[in-house]
Structures are given as structure tokens and as C-alpha cells.
Amino acid sequence: MSAHALPERKAPSGAFAFFRERGPLSAWRLFTFTLCVLVAIPLLVVASSLLHPDRETWRHLADNVLPELIRHTLLLTLGVSVTAGILGTGLAWLTAVCDFPGRRFFSWSLMLPLALPAYVTGFVLVGLLDFTGPIATLLRQWFGPEVRLPPIRSGGGAALALTLALYPYVYLLARHAFLSQGKRALEVGQSLGLSRRQGFLRIALPLARPWIAGGVALVAMETLADFGTVAVFNYDTFTTGIYKAWYSLFSLPAAAQLASLLILFVFVVLFLEQRLRAGMRYTPTGRSAGRERLVLTGFGRLAAPLFCGAVLTVAFIVPVGQLLWWALGVAAQDLDLRYWAYLGRSLLLAGMAATLITATALLLAYARRQQRGALTDAMVRFATLGYAVPGAVLAIGIYLPIAWFDRLYIGLMGELFGREAGPLLAGTLLAMLSAYLVRFLAVAHEPLAAALQRITPSMDEAARSLGLCSRQLIQRVHLPLLKGGVVTAMILVFVDVMKEMPITLMTRTFGWDTLATRIFEMTSEGEWERAALPAVALLVAGLVPVILLTRQTER
């Protein structure tokens, strides 16, 4: 054929060479697998208790409380998911597609409840609306002692608190969907003779379904994993059952059995979400959606800002107001220099976690892209499962192996070197960050996977055909396009870690109190007013990233 020797294929240079491998044992596969193992450990630890089931305790639970637990958990999850779904979607439609006075303000302010943990909203609601609260008391003064508000310490109250705290997840995602295709969908509908309402229901909504499904799934998982809020309302769900079995009945196996059932619920949610998201398209459409908005007139013009205002008031302004009021009351005696330390630690932890988890999620998103296939997809799904496991279950599930490892390490040190070593992992930052990683990987992965999917394979090939090597490709094409996703991911994780309590409580080092642990200390003693002070600090610290996030999503 040809007389010339074929030029030897020059191996791609640098670290990226490793990442271009596509064989079964590629670095990507190994990485994803390692993450899965990390996530699997706490789940396995919990499941391993099933090996020695506690039949007696289980029988007691099954006879007396399980039906109610199942009913309550189902009702709560369904109730919160549906309500938050409708609320978030409706608000997103109003602010993304329509125009009315105050729209700009509401676009970003409706995200603010993200900075408030659900259990804080919960105890504020109970404080305000219970029999002994100011509103009921006032009503009784005016209208006599028989006047009653609907009972707040109930499933309904818990659902309300969770809905108000969690709707921003749906709002965020639905808004994104409507911004990119809402107006266009309406126009198509109108050209087919559909009214605006029909256009919304029959075209815009189905088009946005994958995003809404994603948001609702997040809400459902948060609800399933929630413990703090339902404890405030004394509403029995799986998580309270798990705590009871574990700590009151002293039966880890029974708790594990309940936890396994809970994980089953989670799988169902994830499965449903998968089905609903089948039609997700991320590649940008050829033409931009029309810039003009649907201007509301008449009744709509009045109702829209009122509705948005009402939600904002109940979900944010009132709780914050109440917290400030309480906090001011106790500030004199409680506020001291230590608060700066708590704030500092909360910020530091959240910052470190955000960086670590975002980087990991980015690598995971790349792994999925580079190593396409059903196995990778399944592994990625599994690796993000930690989000739905209740924090305390996860904490124990992580802590036990850490302690076991430490025992091993110390034993080894003693034998090999005759040294009296201290524990290596327990109570270290490493343990905390690992636990956060398992718990919050899903939060960072969602926006990053979405952003990465916008970079089509043909874009990669176009860049390569123009002479770019892998490093340049990442630098000049991927990074600029991923910036938005990275920022979103970091902010979401940051806020979540700041609010997180059970894992922080369990795995923290001595003296490392954060704002969230302070809130716990107070509320566990029923000192709601004193809990308001760290709650306000938490809120303020969380507001900055949340506002940044709203800026981010305006694009």
C-alpha cells in the first residue's frame, strides 16, 4: 500500500489521557464504583442488621404502629409532593411566563424560603397557630372561648410546614422549564384554538413535566427523610418509628427493618421520577423563545401579586418576623462572641462540603458522559441515593464503619509499632465530609448533569476537528458552559449543609458546634425562643447564597 511508515499514535498528554480510556476498567468506571461503595456502606450497615431480625419487636411494631406509620408516611409524602408541586409550578408559571406588577420582585423573592429549614418553619407555625399562640388567643378574646383554629399539631400542620419550606425546589426547576419554552407552548396552543388555560394544561405543562418531576422527587425524598419537622408536630412517620425502635425499644434490628422499608418507598419515588423524566431534552432550541410575556389583565392582574405575596408572607416573612421577635427578646442574654465562632464553623463546613461535593458530582457527571451505558446509569443513580436516607440513619450508618476502621487501625498500630495511637477518622473533618458527601451528592449532581448534557457530543467533535486537544476542549468549551451549573450546585449544597443537623451532631469533633446544633440544643429543651437566635443567624448566613442562586437562575 503505502511506503511511508504510519506515524505512531502519540498518546494524549497529561492527566486527561487517563480519562479518555473507555475500556471496562477505565478510571471512570472505578471512580463511579468507588462512590457507589461509599454510598452503599451506610445502607449495607443498616441492612446488615436485618440478618439478625428482632422478631418480637417487629411483631409489636407490625401489630400496633406499622399500619399507621405507613398511612401517615404515604399521606404526608403524597400531600407535600402534590401541594408543593402545584404551588411551585403555579408560581413558576406566573413569574416565568406572565407579567404583572411586582413580577420581578417575586421572581427572586419566592426562592427565599430555601434559607429556612423546615423544622424552623414548623416550630414557628406551631408557636403562632396553636391554641396558646397569639392568634388563637386574640380570637378567643374577641369571639369567646369556643372559637377554634384548625389543629396545627397534626399531619396537616406538618404538611403545611414542609410544603412551605420545600416548594422552592419545584419552583426552581419548573421556572427553568417555563423560561425556555413556556411562551412558545402557549403560542402553539393559541394557533390550535386553545384558550390560555388549555394551552397551559395541555402543552406547557406536559413539556415541563420532566423538570417538575425532578423537583417533586426532591421534595418527596426530603419529606421521607425528614425527622425534625414531624417531631415538632408529633406526627408519627417512618423516621419517628425508626428512632423509637432504635433508642426507645433498644432494637437496632427493628430500626433497620423499618429503615429498609423506607428505602423501598424511596426506590418507588425514584422509579416514578425516572418514568416521568424520560422526555427530558437539554439541547438548546434553534430559536430563542419569544421575549414578550403574557401580560395579565383584570382579575389576573390583581390576583397574581396577591397570591405570590400571600405565599411569600406565610412561607418567609411571617416566620422570619417571628424569629426576629423572639431573637431580639433573648439576644441580650444569649448573644456573645461564641456566635461568631458558630457562624464561622457553619460557614467553613458548608464551604468545604460545597467544594468537595460539587467537584465529586462533576466527576460523576463526566463519568456518566464518558462511559455511557446502562450499568453506569444504574451506578450513578445508586451513588446519589443517599439523599433520601434520613440523616440520623445515615449518620449511624457512616459512623459504625468509621469506628470499626479506627478500631482496626489502632489495633494495627499497636501490633506493628507498639504505639498507642488515637482514632484516625472518628470525629475528624473527614468523617463529617464523607457523610455530607453521601447525603448531598444528589443535590449537586442534578444541576451539573443538566448543564453537561447541554454540551452535545458534536460540540466536542467540532472542537477536536478544529485542532483542540482534550485539555483545551475542557478549558475552552466545557468550563465556560458548566459555570452556571457549578455555581448552582455549590450554592444548593452550601445551603443544605448549613441547615443540616443530625449528621453534624453525630460526627462532629469536640467543641465544634454549628448554628444548626445550637438550634437543636434549644429546641430539644422546648426553648423555642432561644432557638430563634441561632435560627436567625442561620437564616442570614443562608440568604446570601440563596439570593446568588436566584441571580443565577434568572439567566
Partner: protein, 347 residues
């Protein structure tokens, strides 16, 4: 600068499936080639093999006489100096038109880079749109940006993957002509992939018809139309019907409509049964002819009418007739054979 492309017995398998088999062709510098075929025939795969995004399973690809692809060895795409225009344009959404076009020129000095960008935008007719972002442009404009971007680094070979499939018909024709002009002007070798015959005929110097991973015929448009190498090409290219016929002697075939004089496959001797390709322009309208056929369908084409005729034997034939001969359905009209090239295949 322009490359000479040669493929020698190139084959590609994905797992068990053989997607391209024993494909060979040669394209001279400055020529525009085209791979034409129905979807799934493997034409895009061949393009990707030439670009270097896939590796060959067998055979060899040479650019300017240098082997760039061989089983087990492959020059990576970024080193091949092969430009590519993708079906979905693959413009970078975070860069302006200017940024996109200049993308491959990152090693050039700034002043020359700016000059080249201006030159290309003028070439594709997009002056004034430098600062626009891809999502603000129409489909045709985006396609032109993609083209300018691919041409900017002065590639030796340009590959185009169904570049016009996302555009409307008028735009397609116009851009096709423009593109050919630009390519000839710059003297760039190009290979185009399409399923649209008109596009192939308008743009390419040489066309390869592909089917099920194999190259059926590599030839000029004229010869593909009038001298198809096999039944598939005959069927795929242009329009026509096959009429049964019998070989009379070494240069004559008898069919229902008459006797044809011409050459045909040599394996057929006297008495051999063949199918003869009869194109619409092979049958002319002749009022004086004793042979009558019934009009079963007519399609007005502006300058001509394409009649579908039922022959006395019951078979169908097509005839392209100047449109002032307007006959009604059901009417019997006189026809006559007017065949210059006899195309016959053994049955």
C-alpha cells in the same frame, strides 16, 4: 493545500454488526465528492472514519498519500487538519459568531486571526453579525457560521454531514450553490454526505451511492443516471421502471414497446431474460405511433408533465412530456421509445 483522499477497502464493525464493508474510492484535490444513500446505509460512518472520530476495522484511509487510519493505528482528529460541518451545526452557545469562527485559530497571531474572521464572514455573507450569539440567528445563518468556522483554519479537507437537512427547500438550493462556489473558489477538497439526490447532483463532482455499508457505484452524476452499475443504483437514482425483455442478439433487446439497440451485460446470450430500465425521458409522446398507453396519473411539473401510463401488457411506465400536451386521465396516448443508453440487468 487541497488534499487528495483515498479509501482502500475500508470496513467498520460495531460489535457483531458490519456497518461499512470493503469501501474504496479516490477523490482528487479540489474535487467535491458526495456519499449518497438512504438512511442507515453507513455514509455518516464513513465520514466519521475519514474525520478520525471512529477507527477503521479493516482497510486504510490516506490523506495526501499519508495513511491516517489503519486497524490499530489512527491519527487523532485534532491532528488531521480535516474540517467538519455537523448536521446540528454544533455551534458553541457561549461564544459570539466571531468567537465561534475564530475558535480554531487559537494559535494564530491576533491581527491575522481578526483578518481571517472578517474574510470568512464576508465570504459567507454574515458581515455585521459578529457580535450575535448562535441562538439569535436563523437556521441558515447558523449553518453559514458553522461553515465559516470549519473553513477558518484552512483545512485540507472539508467534511459536511447532511448540512442542509435542517433548512427549507429554497434555502437549500441557494446555499448549495453558494457553498459549491465557495469551495471551488478556495480550491478545497470536500466530501458531502446526503440522502437527497438533487443536492448531490447540484453540488458534487463525483458521487458514491451507498447501500447497506457497501459502495454501489462511484461516478459522475451523469453516468450514475444513465449508466447505473447495478439494479440498486438504477432504482435509487432518478425515476424509472423496469420492463421485461428478451435478448435477441449481441446488440438487441426486445421489449413490449419495441426493439432496443445498444450494449448490455455480456453474460447474457440470445434468449436470456432481462429487465430493462426505462426512464421517463426514454418514452416520448408521438401521436402518430400505433402503440397506445392509457394515462393513469399525471403530475404537473411546470415545464413538463410526468405521466404514469398503463401499457397494453398491463405494466406501468413513466413519461416526461412537455406540458402543453395536456391529456386527461383515462385518455390513450401514442408513445414511442427514444432510448440512448440501454440499461439492462439479467433477471
Amino acid at each position: 493545500m487541497a488534499a487528495h483522499v483515498e479509501l482502500i477497502s475500508v470496513g467498520k464493525r460495531f460489535g457483531e454488526k458490519e456497518v461499512v464493508a470493503d469501501l474504496s474510492f479516490r477523490l482528487g484535490p479540489g474535487s467535491i465528492g458526495c456519499l449518497l444513500g438512504p438512511s442507515g446505509c453507513g455514509k455518516t460512518t464513513v465520514l466519521r472514519l475519514i474525520a478520525g472520530f471512529e477507527a477503521v476495522s479493516s482497510g486504510e484511509i490516506l490523506l495526501n498519500g499519508e495513511p491516517v487510519s489503519r486497524p490499530g493505528h489512527s491519527v487523532p482528529p485534532e491532528r488531521r487538519r480535516v474540517g467538519m460541518v455537523f448536521q446540528d451545526y454544533a455551534l458553541f452557545p457561549h461564544l459570539t459568531v466571531e468567537g465561534n469562527v475564530a475558535f480554531g485559530l487559537h494559535r494564530w497571531p491576533a491581527r491575522e486571526r481578526a483578518a481571517r474572521v472578517r474574510e470568512l464572514l464576508a465570504l459567507v455573507g454574515l458581515e455585521g453579525h459578529e457580535k450575535a450569539y448562535p441562538h439569535e440567528l436563523s437556521g441558515g445563518q447558523q449553518q453559514r457560521v458553522a461553515l465559516a468556522r470549519a473553513l477558518a483554519p484552512k483545512p485540507e479537507l472539508l467534511l459536511l454531514d447532511e448540512p442542509f437537512s435542517n433548512l427549507d427547500v429554497e434555502l437549500r438550493e441557494r446555499l448549495g450553490l453558494e457553498l459549491r462556489q465557495i469551495l471551488k473558489q478556495e480550491g478545497i477538497t470536500a466530501i458531502l454526505v446526503t440522502h437527497d439526490q438533487q443536492e448531490a447532483f447540484a453540488m458534487a463532482d463525483e458521487i458514491g451511492v451507498m447501500h447497506a455499508g457497501r459502495l454501489q457505484q462511484w461516478d459522475t452524476a451523469y453516468r450514475l443516471y444513465h449508466q447505473p452499475a447495478n439494479r440498486f443504483v438504477a432504482d435509487f437514482i432518478g425515476q424509472g421502471v423496469f420492463l421485461p425483455g428478451t435478448v435477441l442478439n449481441s446488440h438487441q433487446i426486445e421489449i413490449e414497446l419495441g426493439i432496443l439497440n445498444g450494449s448490455f451485460p455480456s453474460e447474457c446470450a440470445k434468449g436470456c431474460a432481462v429487465d430493462v430500465l426505462i426512464r421517463p425521458d426514454d418514452i416520448v409522446h408521438d401521436d402518430t405511433s400505433p402503440l397506445l398507453a392509457e394515462v393513469v396519473h399525471k403530475a404537473f411539473r411546470g415545464a413538463s408533465i410526468l405521466y404514469t401510463l398503463r401499457l397494453p401488457s398491463g405494466g406501468t411506465a413513466l413519461s416526461l412530456v412537455p406540458s402543453h400536451h395536456n391529456h386527461a386521465l383515462g385518455e390513450k396516448i401514442g408513445i414511442r421509445l427514444d432510448v440512448d443508453h440501454v440499461v439492462a440487468f439479467k433477471r
